[in-house]
Symmetry: C2
Subunit: 213 residues, 2 copies
DNA sequence: TAGATTGTTAATCGATTAACAATC
DNA sequence: TAGATTGTTAATCGATTAACAATC
């Protein structure tokens, strides 16, 4: 099964919409109806579901629950994933406190920072530890995923140290592009860039409106 | 100037890399060198820059500073943008405290929540106000952008209220798809989905490794 | 002038949409 | 059986890459 990047990025949206449909008590849904809800063409829905190995019944549509379960398995959800949070600033603390990740099986096992003022403080039941001791503490409490919530200048060096500690999943909030070995998975959340895109779209609308006059 | 969605999403990355080059004291950069840094082909760099109206000099490359300034103007940066934060939970508070947005001209003018326990509290110098009074308070203190950091179930209704208050830019952190009039600009930050994509990539690697054995 | 590198057109590649036979 | 809807192939569309003439 080879999944294109475009399809992978849409999978979580399928998962979310199917969960909502389940809550509403919907048992089966056609590509037409699902397309209407998700703002995709029925054709794309069928291509996507087919490509990630889901299947429906001609004449009836797709079974909501089993399709949701299937996508969950493909996404690797359902198990537990141990996560360390590096950087106890605004973002790091917000991620540590988020209930929704924990509900999905992503559990925070440790939090690190370099700031002496933050070390020892408690964030949502987990103490902030000294990042200088990262290597030693990661041996005691290993993690699969690291949430990188540190200044851009430190991101690359920390990512390399975390990689050496066995971390292979990097959820990167720093405005920096990480260079890591091929077997590392990096998912970027570039908040500044996202806000800049919004700024662009607002300006674009303003320009279009000005032109009309 | 018509910019494809793909190009728009890359613009902030150009902006960031050019700012870094500026700091390093680089005056001119060729598409080849910039491509190496940004992990894009030189061909794409030239297409992109041309498409958003930047230009270079044959034989010399692109002028770093003026190109950065040009992209900043296209993105609509440089001015001030008034932002209201709706939802004073983990995400909302983290966004209110973020220094980097403020540095880019995005200023938080108000924060709203419905929780009586939060109303009146101070977040980074701004008091949390009662969302029940949104309409009245938004008249006193209008905003161009709303940061939607509320539960998914409330996102749509709040977005509509904010739209009625004149907000046209929506930075949506709720795991919901907003349906708004065409002249609204919506930029989604779906953290759950991003983490699920990371989970998928980790599972994929695990599956590939298992197959090899 | 010669070398380097852009601007821009053409070719390729991949993703989306359309179409329709298969089948529930 | 007839109607509905999938699975899947073919057509289209858009984005990326290659090529090369223009020019600094």
């Amino acid at each position: 099964m080879i999944l294109s990047d475009a399809v992978v990025k849409r999978m979580p949206a399928y998962y979310r919409h199917l969960r909502e449909l389940e809550k509403e008590g919907v048992r089966q849904i056609s590509s037409r109806e699902l397309g209407r809800r998700m703002d995709l063409t029925p054709s794309q829905i069928r291509q996507d579901i087919h490509s990630f190995g889901g299947c429906g019944r001609q004449g009836c549509g797709y079974p909501v629950t089993s399709l949701r379960e299937h996508i969950g398995r493909v996404l690797g959800l359902g198990g537990r994933r141990r996560m360390t949070i590096v950087g106890a600033g605004n973002i790091g603390r917000a991620m540590a406190r988020s209930a929704s990740f924990a509900q999905n099986g992503f559990e925070t096992v440790s939090i690190f920072d370099r700031d002496a003022a933050k070390i020892g403080r408690d964030v949502n039941g987990t103490p902030v530890q000294d990042v200088a001791e990262l290597e030693r503490l990661m041996q005691e409490e290993p993690a699969e995923i690291a949430v990188l919530a540190v200044p851009a200048a430190n991101a690359q060096a920390l990512a390399e140290r975390l990689y050496a500690c066995g971390v292979r999943g990097f959820w990167n909030f720093a405005p920096a592009d990480l260079r890591l070995p091929e077997d590392a998975a990096v998912e970027n959340v570039h908040l500044d860039e996202s806000l800049e895109v919004l700024s662009f779209r607002l300006s674009q609308r303003a320009r279009a409106a000005a032109e009309k006059e």
